[in-house]
Amino acid sequence: MIPALALVVGVVLGLVLEPTVPAALQPYLPIAVVAALDAVFGAVRAQLEKIFDDRVFVVSFVSNVLVAGLVVFLGDQLGVGGQLSTGVVVVLGIRIFSNAAAIRRHVFHA
């Protein structure tokens, strides 16, 4: 309940404040959001499988975001930033899909 409320509060803050993304963060923000989504989906799945640990969630959330940003940063330095961020998005997308499939099985038993 509290995490869902916090998510809503964050969305409302973003809508109300209308901040602009700093130029330095612009390549990393979408990747970081996708990585965080992966962590959230994993957390929901773990919750449904009753193995959720909030410390694990915090660590995985932060490390997901940091690793994704680091990979993209390295890719930018190596000149393959575009391809690597695509790769990161693909991998995270696959994970999100498999987590979503597990959630679906728990919710609908199908």
Partner: protein
């Protein structure tokens, strides 16, 4: 650390980890909304990567160069066209000017200017065409630029108002020949006394030229005629002749033309 959802939500006191989770999710919602908004507002360029931007910039500058080339080519063409237009316009104006001058000489366009009216009466009928021809040659030698010979003129009318109803012969050398019935004829038209020369030229020069002893005036008065010489600030040689196409002569090429 596995516990049911309901028990955790009902727990009255928040642990640090719960706060961290809430903060992380709030940050996630915030970041997602910000990203979505910036993507919607800035269009595709804002989220494009550096190399993509460089490529887009290259394409743009290439197209810019091509368009700039096109602009300069079109400007050159326009400059050529306008200067060409100026040149042909100047040539046209020059051609018109020469047409006017040549037309005055040939008697195909009316001429006006200071000059002389020379009215000749012939009560005895002894003014022959060669007398008129002498007068004409005298006037031409004195610098007449356009000459009209008319007759008969109505002496009661102010000469400067009279239009050459029966006039003939414009230009500097009207064709003067024997008329059918004793009088003069100009350009194939018969003339009868009283005659009048309308002459464009320096008035005093022309007047003194006809007045020299043994000249035109003397000659006519010996034949019983009377000559009235009037210097005018402006006379109009309005009698025109048709331009005849030369039967044999053709323009010869000129150097530098």
């Amino acid at each position: 650390m596995n516990r049911p959802l309901c028990r955790r939500f009902l727990r009255p006191r928040l642990r640090r980890v719960d706060v961290a989770v809430a903060v992380l999710l709030a940050v996630l919602g915030f970041a997602a909304v910000v990203q979505v908004r910036s993507t919607q507002e800035d269009g595709p360029l804002a989220t494009a990567r550096q190399e993509d931007l460089v490529q887009i910039l290259d394409e743009l500058s290439n197209r810019n160069d091509r368009l700039r080339d096109e602009v300069s080519a079109l400007e050159r063409a326009r400059a050529e066209l306008t200067t060409g237009g100026d040149q042909s316009e100047a040539a046209l104006a020059e051609a018109r000017r020469r047409t006017q001058l040549l037309g005055i000489l040939a008697g195909t366009v009316p001429a006006r200017g200071p000059g002389l009216l020379l009215t000749i009466t012939d009560p005895d009928g002894r003014i022959t065409p060669d007398v008129l021809l002498d007068a004409l040659e005298e006037l031409r030698a004195a610098g007449a630029e356009a000459i009209q010979l008319e007759g008969p003129v109505d002496l009661s009318v102010d000469p400067s108002e009279a239009s050459g109803g029966d006039s003939g012969g414009g230009g500097v050398s009207p064709a003067l020949g024997d008329g059918d019935e004793g009088g003069g004829g100009v350009d194939g038209r018969a003339l009868y006394p009283p005659y009048r020369f309308v002459v464009v030229g320096e008035p005093s020069t022309l007047a003194s030229a006809v007045a020299i002893p043994g000249g035109v005036v003397d000659n006519i008065e010996q034949r019983g005629g009377r000559v009235l010489v009037e210097e005018r600030d402006e006379v109009v040689v309005g009698a025109l002749r048709a331009l005849e196409e030369p039967r044999y002569a053709r323009p010869a090429p000129q150097d530098g033309d």
